[in-house]
Symmetry: C2
Subunit: 180 residues, 2 copies
């Protein structure tokens, strides 16, 4: 047990939504005092860097929380009990219409551990073979865009990409590809 | 106006916390149908990669949402109206006890734009001069740890770091430092 551990004294459910749940925990701090932690529960998601012929596939979609269209690597939420690799294959088919011959897990990380438990499972997909999904998410509108790998990497490195998982994904993929 | 734009038809406040607010928006999708967006509002934060003598400074702290101690670059929430650069200097003093002679903004990005508007302003800090903060966040318990820059980079690249902003920060700093 870490000396920093915060013991839960009470937990109160604030909201049970379709995608997130929100709760307020009363915790005992290491110094014995009480404090509160506002926590957003999320079921986790995958994100995939799809690379073929030295091109990276992206999706552009409107993100209501930031009121903008963002350029992102394909991604999507895990269904309950779904294996992250299966989810990555499903999202690739749904979002860009490809199936990968090779799917390599690069990492899993927390997108914002200060207030949320959302875990992102990050993959590199290569050997892309056309495969349209039979179904799509209701209410998901997106456009596929490709960039040369070096240009994508330049944009991520230079601070021109606004989505955190896309920055981490491109830079980790570049490191991995430089070593295989 | 993007063809993907989602018009807000109704917005309902769910929760007004100290750190987050939660709301449920009813939106009109591009196909005319209605849908819902669960949105976590956050005031934004800074994260800093502090590098001195080829060492990177990290903080280890307990993160209640994931029930673990994480190794992260120094970071903290913006106070209302606070300039991100001022916030970065404040957090460096509070968390690791240094002031930077050079503070370079590397990027700003959204940590999880699918459900939150949290923006992270990312900085590289060099020329660290000792300066203890006069005040600390109540209820913040952390430990400073350093790693050689190459070892930090290896961990971030190899998927051994669990915090998204720390992965993005280290890899962007490495790119920037390789070019100056």
């Amino acid at each position: 047990m870490s000396v920093f551990y915060e013991k839960t004294i009470n937990t109160r459910s604030i909201y049970e939504g379709k995608i997130i749940k929100v709760r307020l925990d009363t915790v005992q701090l290491p110094n014995g005092k009480e404090s509160y932690r506002e926590i957003v529960e999320h079921g986790g998601a995958v994100a995939i860097v799809p690379v073929e012929d030295d091109k990276v596939y992206f999706v552009k979609q409107f993100r209501k929380p930031v009121e903008k269209v963002l350029l992102e690597i394909p991604a999507g939420r895990l269904e309950p009990g779904e294996d992250p690799e299966d989810c990555a294959r499903r999202e690739l088919a749904e979002e860009i219409g490809f199936q990968p011959l090779e799917l390599k897990r690069l990492s899993s990380f927390y997108s914002s551990p200060g207030f949320s438990n959302e875990t992102l499972y990050l993959f590199l997909a290569r050997g892309l073979v056309e495969k349209k999904a039979e179904t799509h998410d209701e209410g998901e509108f997106l456009e596929v865009e490709t960039l040369p790998f070096q240009e994508a990497l330049r944009r991520a490195s230079a601070g021109e990409i606004e989505d955190g998982k896309t920055i981490a994904g491109l830079l980790m993929a570049a490191y991995y590809l430089s070593r295989v």
